[in-house]
Subunit: 94 residues, 2 copies
DNA sequence: TAAACTAGTTTATGAAATAAACCAAATTAT
DNA sequence: ATAATTTGGTTTATTTCATAAACTAGTTTA
């Protein structure tokens, strides 16, 4: 039994990372939109993912407003692949 | 975004249900063995799954010792199928 | 210039996962 | 015979975590 990656085995974080795996830099509001999370929750979870080195967070200003963008890292991508592999095994899927 | 089934989106419970999906009645010790959980944790989690109607628990005695057996229900099987479907979608898998 | 909105962050709380402690009965050792 | 150990669990206590609510800081609009 390989234990599942606990950081990724959580719906919101998994949704974030899965989404980011397929795209480039994405801003906070886009993530809010696709995950349907609250802002507080999203803020907390991307910070955790950043702390783990699974994504980069870039802060700037766009049209006078703060802009927070996220991008998955290689580590994040690898962790996601590993997680999916472990999960399939747990589920007895090929 | 279909939310994932919270009861199933937990490693131990998912391991239990996934395993039971492929077999008949299984006793407590076998589940302990395949999940590598502690007895307390296993006891708690099968009870939750039973409360949700995802599995049946049958208590008896075998060779003078208490024997607890579990079996997945149709509801449990359906919930697992649904969970896997939702998960695949979340992961952008076909 | 006050109200409402943008784009977040911080904190408080309730729920849940887990391990540790416990229990009753059976078995084995002394 | 009885003390110690093992079996097969359950209950309880603790810690962690997910989440919502409250807050911050600034911008735009009426």
């Amino acid at each position: 039994m390989n234990k599942l990656n606990k950081l990724l085995h959580q719906e919101l974080r998994l949704a974030i990372v899965s989404y980011l795996a397929g795209v480039e830099w994405v801003n906070f509001n886009k993530l809010l939109d696709i995950t349907e999370a609250t802002k507080g929750n999203l803020s907390v979870q991307i910070k955790k993912l950043e702390a783990a080195g699974y994504l980069e967070i870039k802060k700037s200003f766009k049209d006078n407003y703060p802009l927070t963008q996220c991008k998955i890292t290689d580590d994040g991508r690898n962790a996601l692949d590993e997680y999916v592999k472990d999960l399939k095994q747990l589920l007895n899927m090929k």
